[in-house]
Subunit: 233 residues, 2 copies
DNA sequence: TAGATTGTTAATCGATTAACAATC
DNA sequence: TAGATTGTTAATCGATTAACAATC
């Protein structure tokens, strides 16, 4: 049986110089590679070629090789990619296990749903606390995450080295929350409020999520497909 | 004061031939235009030029004009765009008020959080029902949406002309649910299960959502920004 | 060694931006 | 009419794909 060790020893030294500025198109694809490689790993597969992965993921093999090469040569000619090695490399790139600290601001339906998932721990992100204005839940724990008053938000972030603020408050409250956590030194904002946060500083990264946009794009496609069908009748 | 009617009467006839195949890059931007125009409308603004909108939205004026022109000429030289007219046109394109019927499969945290939002009604999508396997909640109503047993899913979809299935079940259950609703004739799937749904048919549109991917991209950016800062020290 | 498959360059394709004539 | 701003073509830029030499 083929051994991982047979080749894994040769990897370290072979890696090329990584590019300094990788396009966002490539970065957006990394988590998807990570997911599929994780699945393959769980299936017990040891190695994969770009051609085989391309079939599974519905992309071109060329794109896979180009993408991975932005960060150095992770494969081996004539062999393909060692799945575990590649998975670990991508995990590292994506900051899995950097132990980022996160707080969720807004303990409403969405905030609680996010707190309940394994989304954070699976990526090595610690959910330290939730914050809300509702006195009924302040002081309780939701899915084992303590809930504090928003009035303590800034102080908490400063004292606990919070890297990521997840915003799930109503849109009216979002700008003020943003000011507080940015001032308290967070490095990233994952924003679910229905308003776009745009900061004029490059030391705080903002990821604006608009689930409704996705629903609308889906509706557009359904409508367009319908219309095409009707034309052909 | 400037009147909407002054120019709105001239619009209808001026619209150019819309393109038949609009690139997905453009379509993905439509909901964002829709959001910003909605905000402007609520502020009571009547008209806007591509230049002004470009400043608000952080894109180029050129892109705005190109995008809108894929669907016909919605503006007026020397004047700009009538916000209400443009908003309505984009609403129409996106299928707002097509009265699509949707069901949510999986009444867990995320399913309930989605049911609780105004996301659907705001886009004219009707939440007809939720489906789950938990006998404790089958027969109840959650946020005024009735919860039924998954065993009735196929029958319900056929009888109620369901267009959209929102999947929030655990990933193991997702493939079977998909089979059931596709067989029952849904036209679109909004999938939140942590597995990608890929259908080999173009009469059912699938929108796969992976919130975790977005969190990971955020972590990557934070990590990269950190490293750059450290280099400069 | 022969076969396989990467890393990487070159070619293609598509999307964005710039420019300006058309026109309100 | 003069000024403003679109619609649209042409130029640029970037991303994807194809091809193949390098090499395991």
């Amino acid at each position: 049986m083929e051994s991982i060790d047979k080749i894994s020893g040769t990897f370290g030294k072979r890696c090329n110089e990584p590019k300094t500025n990788v396009s966002s198109a490539v970065i957006r694809r990394l988590p998807r590679y990570h997911r599929f490689l994780g699945d393959l790993l769980r299936e017990g597969k040891l190695r994969i070629s770009s051609a085989e992965l391309s079939r599974i993921m519905n992309v071109t093999a060329s794109q896979i090789r180009q993408d991975l090469n932005c960060f150095g040569g992770f494969g081996q000619q004539g062999y393909g990619y060692n799945i575990k090695f590649l998975y670990n490399k991508i995990s590292e790139l994506l900051g899995v296990n950097e132990s980022f600290n996160a707080v969720i601001i807004g303990a409403g339906k969405l905030g609680c749903a996010l707190a309940a998932t394994h989304m954070f721990e699976r990526r090595g992100v610690n959910r330290l606390a939730m914050f809300d204005v509702n006195p009924d839940i302040i002081g309780t724990r939701i899915y084992d995450v303590p809930v504090y008053s928003v009035s303590e938000l800034g102080k908490f972030c400063k004292e606990n080295n919070v890297h990521i603020g997840v915003i799930t408050v109503p849109k009216e409250a979002a700008p003020e929350i943003t000011d507080v956590i940015v001032e308290a030194g967070v490095k990233g904002i994952w924003n679910f409020a229905n308003i776009e946060i745009n900061l004029d500083r490059d030391d705080v990264i903002v990821e604006n999520i608009h689930l409704g946009d996705s629903l609308m794009a889906l509706c557009y496609e359904i409508k367009t497909a319908n219309e095409k069908r009707e034309e052909n009748d």
